[in-house]
C-alpha cells in the first residue's frame, strides 16, 4: 500500500482541546495515542534509538545513571519528532515522581526474535505488609520534577502543546504491592492499601497540579488499569471507598488550571463509569478493545457527557491487514465522528508488535475522512 506522509503539517491543540471538551462537532477528527513504543516512534520519525534503550530506562530508579538520563532525553526527542511526523496536536512527556517502584521482570519473547519485554510482577512488591510500608522511603512533594515538561515544551512546534502523563495511584498500588498481594490486602487490610493510596495521591496531586499549571501543558493524560476483560479487578464498592475520592482530588488539581483530564483505563470498567464521570469529573476516557466492549458502544452510552478516545483494537493492528484496519477505522469514524467528542487512535497503545503499515492505515483512513468531511 502507499503510505501518504506526512499526515498533517498543521498542529492545532486548541481544536483538539475543543473536541475533547465537546465544545465543537466541527472540523477534523484529531488523532490520539497514550504511548507508542520506541520502535514505532523511530519508524515514523526517522530517528534512532538503541535497541536495548527502553530496557535500560524501564527500571529507572530514584537515582538514575547518566546513561539513563541521556536515554530519557533521547526518548523525549523521539516523542516530539513522532508527534510532529504523525500529526498529533501534542507531544507526550512524563513529569518525574520519584517513588521507588518494584522492578519490572524482563523476559525474551521468541515470537519477536528474542525481543525483551518488561512485565509487572504480579506476586511480589516492595510493600507486602504494614512493616514494609512503615520502612518505605516516600519522596517529598518537592521532589516532583517538571524537567521533562520544560524540556518538551521547548521542542514542540507552534500550535502543539505538551500532554503530561501521570501514573495512576491504583496502578502504582499494584506495582508496589504486587497484584495478588494487593487484591488480598484489599479485603484483609484495606487500611494499609488506603495509607499507600494516600501517599501516592498526594504525589499525584502535586504532579498533576504543577503540570496543569505549566503554560505549555495542554492536558493531563492519567493512566490507571482498573479492570480485566470481563470486570473491575476490585469491587465497585471498594473502588468507591478507597480510590474514587482520591481520583477526584487528582482531577480537581488538573481542572483548577482549566486543563482537560483524560483517563486511560484498560479493562471492563463500566460498573465505575458513573462515578468516574459524575464524581471524579473525567473529561474523556481512553482504551477500548473489541473483545471487551467496542468503542462505538461506549460512545453511544457516554458521549453526551465525556469524549471518547481511540478504539482501534490492538490485536487488529498487530495481526490484521491494512485493508481491515482501514475498514474498521472507517466504521468507528462513521459511528463516533459525526456527533463530535471523539478522537481516533488505537485501543490501547501502538506497541512494537503492531504492524507499521496497519498503524499508517489507521492514520490514512482518518485523514481521508477528515478531507471528505471537514
Amino acid at each position: 500500500m502507499t503510505i501518504e506522509r506526512p499526515f498533517k503539517r498543521h498542529y492545532d491543540f486548541e481544536h483538539f482541546r475543543r473536541v475533547v471538551m465537546r465544545e465543537t462537532g466541527e472540523g477534523p477528527v484529531p488523532i490520539i495515542e497514550l504511548f507508542a513504543d520506541p520502535e514505532i516512534m523511530c519508524e515514523v520519525s526517522g530517528l534512532d534509538f538503541p535497541a536495548d534503550g527502553l530496557l535500560k530506562v524501564l527500571n529507572i530508579g530514584v537515582e538514575p545513571t547518566v546513561e539513563q538520563l541521556q536515554l530519557g532525553v533521547q526518548l523525549m526527542d523521539i516523542s516530539v519528532a513522532f508527534s510532529v511526523a504523525a500529526g498529533y496536536d501534542y507531544a507526550s512527556t512524563i513529569p518525574i515522581v520519584p517513588v521507588p517502584r518494584t522492578d519490572y521482570l524482563l523476559l525474551e519473547n521468541p515470537q519477536q526474535d528474542g525481543k525483551v519485554r518488561g512485565w509487572q510482577d504480579e506476586h511480589r512488591g516492595l510493600i507486602m505488609n504494614r512493616d514494609d510500608f512503615e520502612r518505605f522511603t516516600w519522596p517529598g512533594l518537592d521532589s516532583v520534577s517538571l524537567i521533562p515538561v520544560d524540556y518538551t515544551a521547548g521542542q514542540v512546534p507552534e500550535g502543539m502543546k505538551v500532554m503530561a502523563f501521570i501514573n495512576g495511584i491504583f496502578e502504582d498500588l499494584k506495582r508496589l504491592m504486587g497484584v495478588e498481594n494487593m487484591a488480598i490486602k484489599s479485603v484483609e487490610e484495606p487500611a494499609l492499601c488506603g495509607d499507600i493510596l494516600e501517599k501516592l495521591t498526594k504525589l499525584a496531586v502535586a504532579a498533576t497540579g504543577r503540570s496543569a499549571a505549566h503554560p505549555a501543558v495542554g492536558a493531563v493524560f492519567y493512566g490507571e488499569d482498573m479492570g480485566f476483560n470481563t470486570s473491575l479487578m476490585l469491587s465497585p464498592e471498594w473502588m468507591r471507598e478507597w480510590v474514587v475520592p482520591r481520583l477526584k482530588r487528582i482531577a480537581d488539581a488538573c481542572h483548577a488550571h482549566g486543563k482537560p483530564f483524560l483517563l486511560h483505563s484498560c479493562g471492563q470498567i463500566d460498573a465505575l463509569m458513573e462515578d468516574l464521570i459524575e464524581v471524579v469529573g473525567i473529561d474523556a476516557r481512553h482504551s477500548f478493545q473489541d473483545n471487551i466492549e467496542p468503542v462505538e458502544e461506549v460512545y453511544r452510552k457516554y458521549s453526551d457527557r465525556i469524549s471518547i478516545l481511540g478504539g482501534v483494537d490492538v490485536d487488529l493492528l498487530a495481526r490484521g491487514t491494512p485493508a481491515q484496519v482501514a475498514e474498521r477505522t472507517r466504521s468507528i469514524l462513521e459511528a463516533c465522528a459525526p456527533g463530535g467528542g471523539y478522537c481516533m487512535g488505537s485501543g490501547n497503545s501502538v506497541t512494537n508488535f503492531v504492524k507499521i503499515d496497519n498503524y499508517y492505515a489507521m492514520l490514512d483512513e482518518t485523514r481521508r475522512w477528515n478531507e471528505k468531511h471537514s
Binding site: 515470537q111 519477536q112 470486570s231
Partner: protein, 208 residues
C-alpha cells in the same frame, strides 16, 4: 458441612482447615468433604465471579481457603486416583509471564475437583508436550496475555500434533488478547473468556 462451605466461600483459610480436621476426626470421608462442601463452595464463588458479583480478592481468598483444606485432606486421597474428577495441565506460553488468569483457572479447576498440574510461566512447547506425555491429562490449558505472545499457543499445539499427542487431549486457551476465532485458527478446542467457562469446558471434556 454447611459451616465448612461457608468458611471456604468467605475465604477463612485457617478456620476452614480446622473444620476439615474436625469433620475428618468425626468420621467424614475426604470424598464427602470435597463433594458436599468444598467443591460446591468454590463452584458458587466461581459462578459469582463469572456473573460479576464477586471480584479478584474474593476469588483469591476462597481459593486459598480451598487450598488449605486440600492440604489437610490430600493425604487421604491417592494422587490421580479416586477423588479427582480428572486431570488438567495448565501453563503460560513461552515469552509470557503473566499468570493471574492462569492461576485463577487453576484454582477454579481445583475447586471443582480436578487435579491440576501447573507448569508455571514462560513454558516452551516442548515442556507442554513433555507434560502431556508424562501426565496424560484430559485437558491442556494454555494462557497468554498479549497478541504477540499468544502466537506461541499455535507452536504448542503444533508440537503436540508432531508428538502424536494432540488427539488424546482437549486444548483450551485463554488470556486478555485471545478471542474465540483465534482458537479455531490455531486448532484449539475451546476459548474461555474466564476461569468459570474453563472449568465448565474441562468438565464437559471429561464426560465425553
Amino acid at each position: 458441612m454447611e459451616q465448612l462451605a461457608e468458611l471456604v466461600k468467605e475465604g477463612k483459610a485457617e478456620e476452614a482447615a480446622g473444620r476439615v480436621r474436625e469433620l475428618l476426626d468425626g468420621g467424614a470421608s475426604a470424598d464427602a468433604l470435597m463433594k458436599e462442601a468444598m467443591i460446591p463452595a468454590m463452584e458458587e464463588v466461581g459462578d459469582l465471579f463469572q456473573q460479576g458479583k464477586v471480584y479478584l480478592p474474593e476469588m483469591l481468598i476462597a481459593a486459598r481457603a480451598m487450598q488449605g483444606c486440600m492440604d489437610v485432606i490430600k493425604p487421604a486421597m491417592a494422587t490421580g486416583g479416586p477423588g479427582f474428577l480428572g486431570k488438567v495441565v495448565i501453563g503460560t506460553v513461552r515469552g509470557d509471564i503473566h499468570d493471574i488468569g492462569k492461576n485463577l483457572v487453576g484454582m477454579t479447576l481445583e475447586g471443582a475437583g480436578f487435579e491440576v498440574i501447573d507448569l508455571g510461566v514462560d513454558v516452551s512447547p516442548e515442556r507442554f508436550t513433555e507434560a502431556v506425555r508424562e501426565h496424560s491429562p484430559q485437558v491442556l490449558g494454555i494462557s497468554a496475555l498479549l497478541t504477540t505472545t499468544m502466537l506461541a499457543m499455535k507452536d504448542t499445539i503444533d508440537a503436540l500434533r508432531e508428538a502424536g499427542l494432540r488427539d488424546g487431549v482437549k486444548v483450551m486457551i485463554g488470556g486478555a488478547a485471545v478471542r474465540g476465532e483465534f482458537a479455531g485458527e490455531i486448532g484449539a478446542d475451546f476459548f474461555g473468556p474466564d476461569s468459570t467457562s474453563a472449568r465448565d469446558f474441562a468438565r464437559e471434556a471429561i464426560s465425553r
